[in-house]
């Protein structure tokens, strides 16, 4: 058994290790510099499809179910911020059932004196996808400016807390799905389905029917990764109750998922070869 380090040392150590992983990652990417930048650009291009869709639709209609162009753009911009963080760090939890459980990569991870979940995340991260986050901030700034939004002192700290909460929801949902791999020992194809559902979070919830809204709020809480938190940041307070729940929903999602993950790790027996 390892000696448990103090909390402060623990965090510092994880941060140092993060930068080591980051340095290695950048080395591999810089070997093919031009490809790396084209990859980043093409990721932005892919995201621009949604933006163009919204712009074209709003050239035809002034509002969608009570939400005008700037508000819908603002929601989309906010959605991209935690989405970029998710893409950068948690998207490849997707690999856990196949690569780490079925092929036994977890053996290697578990023999090292560092939290297994943390190792998987830093091993599979694609931090360049944080450009999506930057794009989201630009869209928020543009649409916020267009609707004459006045920044107040609490906007930025609140935004940070809400983004953190939303990111924890992603981390929670995907950690949970990845952990199922310890039982199913292989991919069960749920992840693409959930991914498609997460995209529902970038539009006002008012466009969905009751049952869909219920699922997106209370079961797979993707209403909290875009719509709810963004409303309060654009100073519309009709969903403030939900919006302020975002950090709590994030914490609960992640706490449940992490427990399932731990149970999965305990269950893991390696590939036996």
């Amino acid at each position: 058994m390892m000696k448990k380090p103090g909390l402060k040392d623990g965090i510092a150590r994880h941060v140092v290790i993060f930068f080591h992983y980051m340095a290695q990652y950048m080395k591999t990417k810089m070997a093919y510099r031009a490809d790396f930048f084209i990859y980043i650009l093409s990721d932005l291009l892919l995201q621009s499809v949604n933006l163009i869709f919204l712009l074209v639709v709003f050239s035809k209609v002034p509002a969608i179910k009570g939400w005008d162009r700037n508000q819908v753009l603002f929601i989309y911009g906010f959605f991209l911020v935690p989405f970029g963080l998710y893409s950068g760090f948690f998207n490849h939890l997707f690999d856990v059932p196949e690569k780490y459980v079925l092929q036994g990569e977890m053996d290697r991870v578990l023999t090292r004196p560092l939290n297994a979940w943390y190792q998987v995340v830093v091993e599979t991260m694609n931090p360049e996808l944080l450009v999506g986050t930057v794009a989201g901030i630009i869209i928020m700034a543009y649409s916020g400016n267009a609707m004459h939004l006045d920044l107040t002192w609490w906007d930025i700290p609140l935004a940070l807390v809400l983004v953190l909460g939303a990111t924890l929801i992603y981390a929670g949902v995907y950690t949970f799905l990845a952990s199922l791999g310890f039982w199913t020992e292989g991919n069960i194809g749920l992840m693409p389905m959930v991914y498609n559902l997460s995209n529902y979070g970038r539009y006002p919830m008012t466009i969905y029917r009751g049952p869909v809204r219920f699922i997106l709020t209370w079961i797979l809480p993707f209403a909290f990764v875009g719509f709810y938190p963004s409303t309060v940041l654009m100073h519309r307070y009709d969903y403030i109750g939900y919006a302020l729940l975002t950090p709590l929903v994030g914490l609960i999602s992640f706490a449940i998922a992490y427990r399932v993950w731990t149970a999965g790790i305990k269950r893991y027996r390696g590939t036996g070869s």
Binding site: L41, S42, L46, V49, M193, N199
Partner: protein, 288 residues
């Protein structure tokens, strides 16, 4: 890639009359189609989860369009019911004509497998198209039709405006397949010149999604954009066939769409032919 052990017909060149050679070739391509179809059978269960997945994706657009139309009668020449039908038909048919030839070709070029393909006694492009068509036939049976039925049961949508329109629509589906396959092939060839294959796939996807009319009817775009889109083959892939389905284009005008598709198939065919020749020479020079 041809898997070993498969029974390929004998196609040695110079073996007999022209007609016999042509027949040989045809049988080869039909055999390749069949092989690809059978290969895909092994994965049919993944396709079934794929259908639910696809429906969720279509669902997002369904809710969005329903909301966009609330309180409005006609947008871009389509009413709400027509738009919902447009959306569902566009996505369901896409699961047939959709092509990942760009990925397959680009990987072969990047990994150098293309060298082996070059010495084989058949047309590289034709083999790729034949296999892609086999896969498309598989997808229409195990994906497009079940998906269409499933969605119809959840949310009934409009049937073709008339049987004539339905028939021409089926014909344009073949055109959509051919044009998409050719565009993908050309996109794949770009791998001769760049290593950034994921950039190629994504750029192709963005262009196809936006300009084929899959996401938005072309009539929604501003006039300047429509005038540019007109100069390219993209809108004959989804937008125009969907309008035939809806009965917005009928009779002679519908047949003209088929002709337009034929025109683009020829143009793209020549482009791909010359591009291939140029690129292969380029590769030989590079390889020394």
């Amino acid at each position: 890639m041809i898997r070993e052990g498969s029974a390929l017909p004998d196609i040695r060149p110079g073996g007999g009359r022209l007609a016999a050679r042509f027949w040989n070739r045809l049988m080869l391509y039909i055999e390749l189609m069949r092989m690809e179809f059978v290969n895909n059978l092994a994965y049919r269960t993944t396709y079934f989860t794929g259908i639910f997945n696809y429906s969720i994706q279509i669902g997002a657009y369904f809710f969005l369009w329903e909301a966009i139309y609330s309180g409005r009668k006609v947008l871009g020449g389509l009413n709400k019911e027509e738009m919902i039908t447009y959306l569902i038909v566009a996505w369901v048919v896409r699961s047939f004509y959709f092509s990942n030839l760009d990925r397959r070709v680009a990987v072969e070029i990047r990994d150098g497998k293309i060298a082996l393909e070059l010495i084989r006694p058949y047309s590289y492009q034709m083999v790729k198209y034949a296999r892609a068509f086999g896969e498309a036939l598989f997808r229409i049976i195990f994906f497009a039709i079940p998906a269409g039925v499933l969605i119809y049961l959840i949310r009934p949508f409009g049937l073709p405006a008339s049987w004539q329109n339905g028939l021409v629509f089926l014909l344009t589906m073949l055109g959509s397949f051919a044009i998409t396959a050719q565009i993908s092939m050309l996109a794949g060839f770009l791998a001769f010149f760049t290593r950034s294959t994921s950039g190629i796939y994504r750029a192709k996807r963005v262009v196809m999604d936006l300009f084929s009319g899959l996401l938005l009817p072309i009539s929604f775009y501003p006039e300047w954009a429509r005038n540019i889109i007109k100069l390219f083959p993209f809108q004959t892939v989804s937008y125009m066939p969907n309008l035939i389905y809806l009965g917005k284009i009928s009779g002679v005008a519908a047949l003209k769409v088929v002709l337009l598709q034929g025109f683009w198939i020829v143009v793209l065919g020549f482009t791909a032919f010359w591009f291939w020749r140029f690129a292969v020479k380029h590769v030989v020079i590079q390889g020394g």
